[in-house]
């Protein structure tokens, strides 16, 4: 009963927060410098052309009327048409979203699994050479400038060795070949994914390693670890079954939120690797004042982050019996 009450309260909070975000997004895009029409018209076009375009896009109405239309459209599931693509915004987002989710969710999961595993080992071997190496490696890769790392990896593995494609998500040779089956196409996508995934992994696994190491070091000081040792349990059992699950709690929060934020894609990663995801569209829509596309993309991110926060909170309670709602 308590849980249901808690959930109900959270849903109301999420609804209010979302509405505030909805409004802030509208205001932010309208007060931000830049004009959607200036980028769409050529230098030789007349002022009358620009005015006509503004009217067609509905930008000539008073702001409060635009806002009312915006809210009404949102509640009717109509996010409008992109100024530049001329397509329904929802179509563009649904087209790009799976690509972003595939790459970034894989990278978060891979980074988290490896980061947690190595963080656990590093903490267990605190002060030894392996700990120093892992901690140092994590710090270095985590602080490297992402586009630089991406370009270096492209240069080595795609250009010099020719093992992987330079960019993109699919090869036209395979996708234009009618004899290529689903399995080959799936492998092709995986083949293109290796370098961006490796880049993201190298950048992000370090943070999970460091969080896990730090949490594990704290956990190892707890009385129940001492008790486990006193009971004569094997070191491996203490590490993996007693210390690690408790130390992993902060990582759960971090992974949960990273998964949520992963849907905004990494604009830099997607740009360098020409990965056709949401991140590139976000950059394009914001820099070209494509209001409908930018608003819808940010709303989607907000919704996912808000819901993920709730899920992480519930998961926390599930993993840690001391927490009850």
């Amino acid at each position: 009963m308590e849980l249901w009450r808690y959930l109900w309260r959270r849903f109301i909070q999420i609804g209010i927060t979302f509405f505030v975000i909805l409004t802030i997004l509208f205001v932010l895009f309208r007060i931000a410098p830049g004009d959607p029409v200036t980028r769409m018209i050529g230098p030789e076009m007349t002022t009358e052309d620009a005015v006509r375009l503004i009217s067609q896009l509905g930008l000539d109405r008073p702001l409060w009327i635009q806002y009312l239309y915006y809210v009404r459209n949102f509640f009717t599931g109509n996010f409008g048409y992109s100024f530049h693509y001329g397509q329904p915004v929802i179509e563009i987002i649904w087209d790009r979203l799976p690509n972003t989710v595939l790459l970034f969710t894989s990278s978060v999961i891979l980074s988290a699994v490896v980061g947690v595993f190595l963080g656990k080992i590093a903490a267990w071997r605190k002060g030894k050479r392996s700990d120093t190496l892992m901690t140092l490696g994590a710090l270095v890769t985590h602080t490297v400038f992402l586009p630089w790392m991406a370009l270096i990896l492209i240069w080595i593995f795609a250009y010099r060795f020719g093992w992987f494609p330079i960019n993109g998500m699919i090869s036209e040779e395979i996708w234009l070949d009618p004899s290529a089956g689903l399995w080959i196409k799936a492998l092709d996508v995986f083949h293109h994914m290796v370098l961006p995934l490796l880049t993201l992994f190298l950048i992000y696994f370090g943070s999970y390693l460091l969080i896990m190491r730090s949490a594990m070091l704290e956990t190892l000081k707890e009385d129940y670890i001492l008790t486990a040792r006193a009971k004569g349990l094997k070191e491996k059992v203490i590490r993996n079954h007693h210390a690690a699950p408790n130390a992993a709690l902060p990582v759960v929060t971090s992974v949960g939120l990273s998964l949520a934020f992963s849907i905004n894609g990494g604009a830099l990663t997607e740009t360098v690797f020409s990965w056709p995801g949401i991140g590139r569209e976000l950059v394009f829509s914001v820099s070209n004042n494509d209001y409908p596309l930018a608003q819808a993309a940010f709303l989607l991110i907000s919704a996912v982050v808000l819901v993920s926060n709730l899920v992480v909170d519930l998961l926390y309670a599930y993993l840690d019996p001391r927490i009850r709602y």
Binding site: P33, P43, Y81, H84, I166, W175, L187, D188, F190
Partner: protein, 572 residues
């Protein structure tokens, strides 16, 4: 539980399999398409909505106009039209006869299609095209291959701008237009119509567009130019198709070119890549002139740049040759007029070249002399009593008040490093002269908003790329009637004499007489200097030379319709 060894073997085999799959396909199945790398993906194939150059890169292969330019002479020549139409001053009309041409679906291109296109633009007032059709009073279909255009008044741009408009198929667009008319916002409905399979009249047709990955055009079997000799070239196309691939960065695209993933990178190659590319025997670089103007503009609506003497002094202080040598690394042409030198017919050398050929000290002295004559003074003048140039302090306006700080807006370095660096260097020259100048890089959209919409600025550095060879745009950019919010006269330049000549030039149908008027306009502008033209960068394009040959050099580079109609595979 799966034993560890088995797990390791499985993952190793899976990984190697992936590698083999990708590498194997890449090596063995190279299609015979011309692969062109674009910096970004086209946004739309709806020709009425398209506003980005990537969409036009593709659309220009699908839709053609009635006339085009000869790649060597740059003269207008018939394209879909059989001959160049002749102006009839009595009836203010042009009559165009079409070649035998077909749409990509096999139906004939008729005068109805031409009339439909013009009327569609006029009816919907389509923004990118309406300005070049709004003076056409009537479009009369005489027979299946003859169409007559009656103008409201003589307009010199008719041939070069109106007749270069891409013609669309009535069959394809009539129903779309019908639906759009019934919509609340007809123009929006027309522009938002999604094109899946455009019916074109160009050398290529859309085969497939895998969004985010590639776009494939294949040879149009109905292309009217196939086998025809036009402008001395027997047209193809000789390639099976053109495959466009999209790269978010030049770094990735250049690597793809070197690796052989693409045959051409359709974007001007920046100086930093040239050294490496020159060493590669499989890559050829093409350098061509551009019809572009990179310039510094002023806000003439307020002090201090409402004073022509100050603008002339700034023009004298700017060392264009230095900018070209040091920033463009020699790959550019100094501009002495608003018309680029590549436009050989209309370019006119102005009477004054503002500092050309002078040393820094001579420039400072000349600018100092000009401003002293105009009543300016300094706390520490840029020329000392012995006549030597020194670093000046605090320039004062003719009334004696110190000049307030002013800003030179530039695009940011990540958008255009050349313009951003030019802004910084001009700032230093002006500061050394005692002017409180600051270069301020600003996001491109914000910069345009500041200059065109808010009109709250002192000076800016911007550029016009791909300027039409018919310089009617001079009239558009500097006529006083265009000094309004979102107007094309961004500087707020007003000169009744200029306006008079500009209006006259627009209506002068005789080419030589018009050239004289356009020269006069250039001379007035170079005296009044609402803009200081700085430079025209070269168009440097890189292609691989081991798969295709036959690129056609012309103004604006090799990425032109002629190249795509003439490039041939190199037989092994």
């Amino acid at each position: 539980m799966i034993p560890k060894k088995k797990k390791a073997v499985f993952f190793t085999v899976f990984f190697l399999g992936c590698l083999w799959t990708g590498v194997g396909f890449g090596a063995s199945k190279r299609a015979a398409y011309l692969k062109v790398g674009l910096f970004a993906e086209p946004k739309t194939l709806n020709i009425w909505l398209a506003s980005d150059r990537w969409s036009f890169s593709v659309l220009s292969k699908i839709y053609q106009g009635l006339v085009t330019r000869d790649p060597e002479t740059l003269e207008l020549i018939p394209w879909l039209a059989e001959t160049l139409p002749v102006y009839d001053p009595q009836t203010l009309s042009y009559t165009v006869t079409l070649r035998d041409a077909e749409w990509s679906d096999g139906s004939p291109v008729t005068a109805e299609d031409v009339a439909f296109t013009g009327n569609l633009i006029k009816e919907f007032k389509i923004p990118r095209h309406y300005w070049r059709w709004n003076f056409v009073k009537a479009i009369q279909v005489k027979d299946a291959k003859t169409v007559r255009f009656v103008l409201e008044k003589p307009m010199a741009i008719f041939l070069s701008r109106t007749l270069t408009t891409p013609i669309v198929s009535k069959k394809e667009w009539e129903a779309v237009a019908q639906r759009a008319r019934k919509a609340g916002k007809p123009l929006t409905a027309l522009m938002n119509h999604k094109i899946k399979n455009p019916i074109g009249n160009g050398p290529f047709v859309l085969k497939t567009w895998k969004q985010g990955a590639y776009l494939l055009l294949t040879k149009n079997p109905h292309f009217f130019g196939k086998g025809l000799k036009i402008a001395g070239h027997v047209l193809g196309p000789h390639v099976d198709g053109v495959l466009f691939k999209f790269y978010g960065t030049s770094d990735a695209a250049i690597l793809a070119l070197k690796k052989g993933d693409i045959d051409m990178y359709w974007w001007s190659v920046q100086a930093g890549y040239l050294g490496d590319l020159k060493k590669n025997p499989k890559i050829t670089l093409f350098r061509n002139e551009r019809s572009a103007m990179y310039y510094m503009g002023f806000n003439l609506r307020k002090p201090p740049f409402n004073d022509v003497a100050l603008r002339q002094a700034v023009a004298t202080l700017i060392d264009k040759d230095f900018i070209i040598t040091r920033i463009l690394q020699g790959d550019g042409e100094r501009m002495d007029s608003v018309v680029p030198k590549g436009n050989k017919f209309y370019y006119c050398r102005p009477d004054t070249l503002w500092g050309a050929g002078l040393s820094r000290e001579q420039r400072v002295k000349a600018a100092y002399k000009r401003l002293v004559e105009a009543g300016y003074s300094w706390k520490v003048p840029p020329v000392d009593e012995s006549g030597k140039g020194v670093r000046a302090k605090e320039i004062r306006l003719p009334g004696g008040a110190p000049m307030g700080p002013f800003t030179i807006l530039t695009p940011p370095a990540d958008y255009d490093p050349l313009r951003a660096m030019s802004g910084t260097i001009i700032q230093e020259w002006l500061r050394a002269f005692g002017m409180p100048a600051s270069a301020k890089p600003m996001a491109f959209g914000s910069l345009l908003d500041q200059v065109k919409v808010r009109r709250d600025f002192d000076a800016f550095i911007l550029a016009y790329g791909k300027l039409s060879l018919d310089p009617d745009w001079i009239r558009a950019f500097f006529h006083s009637k265009n000094d309004k919010v979102r107007g094309r006269n961004m500087s707020g330049y007003h000169n009744p004499e200029f306006d008079r000549i500009a209006d006259l030039s627009a209506a002068t149908m005789d080419k030589k007489a018009r050239r004289k008027l356009i020269c006069d306009m250039q001379k007035i502008l170079m005296k009044d200097l609402p803009y200081i033209p700085l430079y025209t960068p070269k168009m440097i394009e890189a292609v691989r030379n081991d798969r295709f040959s036959g690129w056609v050099n012309t103004l604006e580079g090799i990425g032109n319709i002629w190249s795509f109609c003439l490039v041939k595979p190199i037989r092994p």
